[in-house]
């Protein structure tokens, strides 16, 4: 329950900080930190424009996408306190419930019959497919390291005693951050600020969405960032008491948002055909974590 509240709070400023960082880095003052939330509220007040090509799938898709992110949020724990949904193997549920959202956002884009939206949908499907093994190998190695199979138990048993497990946590944080970037279609893979449909991934999929639906999609995006931020925080939180953990949580989220902003300011987007290689690199990092976990648990050598 606590995690739900904290993630929603973090989601309100996460994207704002990214945008602010980017503005400052490029020498502008930039909008306020809560501007994205205001944008969404404005969208929620608007009417709707639909394409004549679309069917009920297009109208249903944003709601299901949002609901899937919402349910995934319920799975994420906060330190010692469980998420609302917690059971052995809940991270499989987490990945697959996000999957159903992705499924619908893809077919929603294809429903418009627009060539670019189909293109974006195809890329989204491909990239998220490549991110999947990294996530599962990573969670598998954490399960191996701790002997547990649910988010909360894994994170609370992840004692950062030896120096090698710090290295593991840092690498895991890197993998999670990159998965978050892929899931949200951010910089190294996709430039959300591009104005050319040919080079868009996620942005082009939602070209035809408007009003309430678009607001839902944006909100889901903000939540997704905060969800992954919370997971990364959990890697380090261990058994810290709440009065320290909660400020740390917000600090960490703000820091991650800053990092994302810096990456987006100082990096160019990869060439499309290099994206797949980049994502495979993520799986390799996950494999490194796996071998590290083998080392720590003394099963290797």
């Amino acid at each position: 329950m606590l995690s739900l509240l904290l993630i929603i709070l973090a989601a309100t400023f996460f994207t704002g900080i990214i945008i602010r960082t980017k503005s400052v880095a490029s020498g502008r003052k930039g909008p306020g930190v809560f501007q994205p939330v205001k944008d969404v509220i404005r969208l929620f007040k608007k009417g709707a424009v639909y394409s004549e090509t679309t069917s009920f799938v297009f109208r249903l898709a944003p709601t299901i996408y949002f609901a899937s992110v919402f349910v995934a949020m319920l799975v994420v724990p906060f330190g010692q306190s469980k998420g609302i949904i917690s059971f052995n193997g809940d991270f499989i549920f987490f990945a697959y419930i996000l999957g159903i959202g992705k499924f619908f956002s893809i077919i929603g884009a294809m429903d418009t019959g627009n060539s670019f939206e189909g293109m974006g949908a195809s890329r989204e499907a491909l990239y998220s497919m490549f991110a999947e093994p990294a996530f599962f190998i990573l969670m598998g190695s954490l399960a191996l390291l701790t002997g547990f199979t649910s988010f909360q138990e894994i994170f609370s048993a992840l004692h950062l005693g030896s120096s090698i497990s710090y290295a593991l946590a840092v690498m895991a944080a890197f993998v999670f951050l990159m998965i978050a970037m892929i899931e949200n279609s951010r910089m190294p893979l996709d430039d959300p600020k591009t104005h050319l449909e040919l080079t868009m991934v996620h942005e082009v999929m939602i070209l035809d969405n408007s009003g309430f639906d678009l607001g839902l999609i944006f909100t889901a995006g903000y939540l997704k960032f905060a969800i992954y931020g919370a997971i990364i925080f959990n890697l380090f939180s261990g058994t810290i008491a709440y009065q320290y953990a909660i400020p740390m949580f917000f600090g960490m989220q703000a820091f991650l948002a800053f990092v994302v902003g810096m990456i987006e300011s100082f990096m160019a987007r990869f060439r499309m055909n290099h994206n797949a290689q980049f994502i495979v690199v993520l799986s390799s990092v996950s494999l490194l974590i796996f071998f590290g976990a083998l080392l720590v648990s003394g099963k290797f050598i």
Binding site: F44, I85, I92, G113, M129, F136, G140, A143
Partner: protein, 665 residues
């Protein structure tokens, strides 16, 4: 109870005679009646077996067969129920499907008689436990399925596919025959119980692998999958649904049956099956993602699912080898659950693809589009089946995928480095399979049902008849029941698995019974998910109902004259993927290059096809060599009767002389 078993074939026999004599309109109804009667009889047997009353009897089959054991135990029961359900929906869907085709009564005669025989033989394959009789029934099953596949026998392509399928199925029988003869020579008995003795005192690897190849050819493990690819796309949709839904599962049944007699070498065999299965799954889904023919895509997807089931079997065997009952239960449980789930959504997909093919007269995705407006119910059915087969919650596919994932994750915790690495690689493989299924099915659903029509179809498609839709709704109902009450199904499966091992009973570990409650929780969370969707949909509806709604053309990115040809095609949707894996997914293009002086090129054609890696690189190479060598012996087959008579005489003389000199006895 024994009367029930016998009444099964008596019903089928009378029905087959009756179908011949009743008027053309009644043939489908008669067949349906027989299928229903047979389903009730064998379903009754199956349910009584699952509740603890295993029925078995022995009949004397003459000198040749000896005592033939017929037994309906828990494993048979699970498969009997699945076969019966799919055959039931198949026969009702099929009678609607064939109504619109103007087939002669002769064709229908043969079709429905074979259908009854097909169901009967599949049922008996699961009940007979005697090698020789098993082979005969297996052969009847293969032959009836081949003849059902070539329903449309005026089409030379279908005949060709049918013959290819026939050949592949017989390679399977060759391996099975070798296996059972091996058993006979070692133990002197054809009964399945002889496996216990053989496996108890000999190495388990050889015989099991021979039988695994035989059954694997039926199931479609790579590189033995090409029979499946020939049969399913050529068959009429209701037959394809049954073949993909349950016929291939009989290969899995065989593997389970033989595996239940194993007594050593679990680890090695489990590792082999696990590795082959991961490769099978990846290969299947990768090919499914690129193919543009809906039925071919579904056939490849079946291969992928066989891979997923195989992963479960592999985990189970490794669990047996490692003395970790949790793995054994999770692996086999996941596999058996996936057998059920896949039979449901795959038959559903074939049925709805059949509805599309019936209305649009093509299965080529690139010629379709926007069908959801013309066939909303079929579109909905396809969508539900697609979500199911991607293993996404809230439908049933997730239940079995979750079990198999849990098996792999429990496996990662085993204290053995080899297995840990194998399990974590399989984990990655399974997650890629999951991701690619999403790509495959969003592509298929999106191209066929969404957007606008890509080509003007010869006949405007309409929604199919209620007779075809009701069986599909029935399948959806069962899918939802699995999704809502997974605990119940897992309990039944738990009992099946407990009775599987002969002699030593492995009790259900606490870890496994935990999973029953976890699955129940998952279904609650899935319902929660649906509720949340409902809540936000309600809010959205309430807010938007008072506001302006504008319907406009799709935003064409500032292009003012959009046509339906502008849509992204299915091929381009998966093009990036196929490029990335071009060493497995082989693409061949046919076109003429522009010549140097050609300034104003004329209209020209461009064709591209995806080839199956194993067919293209291995099977075709071998068969081409064979044909080349066989050409030298053409003179034997010269078409003159005189020569043939001469061959006969020479043969008889040789035999006579050899016997006279005691060279052969």
């Amino acid at each position: 109870m024994i009367e029930l078993i016998n009444s099964s074939w008596i019903i089928a026999f009378f029905a087959m005679v009756a179908i011949y004599f009743v008027p053309a309109k009644m043939k489908a109804h008669t067949a349906a009646l027989a299928v229903v009667a047979n389903a009730i009889v064998t379903g009754w047997l199956a349910i009584s077996a699952l509740t603890g009353h295993v029925v078995s009897f022995v009949f004397y089959g003459g000198n040749l067969f000896g005592d033939v054991l017929v037994r309906v135990d828990e494993l048979s029961a699970w498969f009997l129920l699945i076969i019966n359900f799919t055959c039931l929906t198949g026969v009702f869907y099929g009678s609607g499907y064939l109504k619109t085709s103007d087939s002669s009564p002769k064709k229908l005669n043969l079709h429905w008689i074979l259908f009854v025989l097909f169901q009967l033989s599949m049922l008996w394959v699961c009940m007979v436990q005697h090698g020789l009789v098993f082979l005969i029934i297996w052969e009847v099953m293969s032959l009836s399925s081949v003849l059902l596949v070539i329903f449309d026998h005026n089409n030379p392509k279908i005949i060709k596919a049918g013959i290819s399928y026939l050949v592949q199925m017989h390679i399977s029988i060759v391996f099975l025959t070798i296996g059972f003869i091996w058993l006979y020579f070692q133990t002197g008995s054809f009964s399945f119980d002889a496996f216990t003795g053989y496996f108890g005192s000999n190495s388990n690897v050889g015989l099991f692998l021979v039988l695994f190849i035989g059954f694997g050819l039926k199931a479609g493990f790579i590189p033995l999958h090409s029979g499946l690819l020939q049969g399913d796309p050529a068959a009429p949709s209701h037959i394809a649904g049954i073949m993909s839904g349950v016929l291939v599962k009989l290969g899995i049944y065989g593997i389970f049956r033989v595996a239940s007699y194993l007594s050593s070498d679990y680890l090695l065999l489990g590792e082999i099956i696990l590795s082959v299965s991961v490769a099978t799954g990846l290969f299947g889904i990768l090919n499914a993602a690129v193919h543009r023919n809906l039925k071919k895509m579904l056939a490849y997807c079946t291969i992928e699912n066989i891979g997923t089931i195989g992963i479960g079997i592999g985990i189970g065997l490794i669990g047996l080898g490692n003395n970790t009952p949790v793995l054994y239960y999770l692996g086999f449980g996941g596999a058996l659950m996936h057998v059920l789930n896949h039979s449901l959504f795959k038959s559903l997909l074939f049925f709805s693809a059949g509805s599309v093919a019936q209305q649009a007269h093509t299965s080529d995705m690139e010629k379709l589009g926007g069908l959801i407006k013309k066939m909303p119910r079929t579109g909905m059915v396809f969508l539900i089946a697609a979500i199911g087969i991607c293993g996404l919650p809230p439908f049933n596919g997730f239940i079995s995928e979750f079990l198999i994932y849990s098996g792999l994750i429990e496996g990662v915790k085993i204290h053995d480095t080899n297995e840990m690495i194998l399990f974590s690689v399989s984990l990655a493989g399974l997650s890629v399979i999951g991701g690619l299924s999403i790509l495959t099915f969003t592509k298929s659903f999106g191209t066929v049902f969404l957007g606008t029509a890509r080509k003007q179809l010869p006949v405007e498609p309409h929604e199919v008849s209620l007779q075809m839709l009701i069986p599909q709704y029935a399948i959806i109902a069962l899918m939802i029941s699995v999704a809502i009450f997974p605990g119940f199904y897992l309990q039944v499966i738990g009992n099946v698995i407990m009775s599987l091992t002969k002699g030593v009973i492995i009790p259900q570990p606490a870890g496994f019974t935990n999973y029953i409650s976890i699955l129940q929780n998952i279904s609650n969370y899935s319902i929660l998910f649906i509720c949340i969707v409902g809540i936000f949909w309600g809010i959205r509806y309430k807010l938007l109902s008072a506001r302006s709604k504008v319907i406009q053309p799709t935003w064409g990115c500032a292009y003012a004259a959009p046509t339906s040809k502008i849509q992204y095609t299915g091929k381009s949707f998966s093009k990036t993927l196929s490029k990335m894996f071009n060493f497995i997914v082989i693409e061949r293009k046919q076109y003429t290059e522009l010549k140097a002086g050609e300034i104003f090129p004329e209209e020209r054609k461009h064709a591209s096809h995806y080839h199956d890696f194993f067919e293209f690189r291995f099977i075709h190479v071998i068969t081409n060599q064979l044909v080349y060598a066989a050409n030298y012996f053409k003179f034997i087959q010269n078409g003159r009767i005189q020569s043939y008579v001469l061959y006969g005489i020479v043969f008889i003389l040789t035999i006579f002389i050899l016997t006279a000199f005691n060279i052969i006895i």
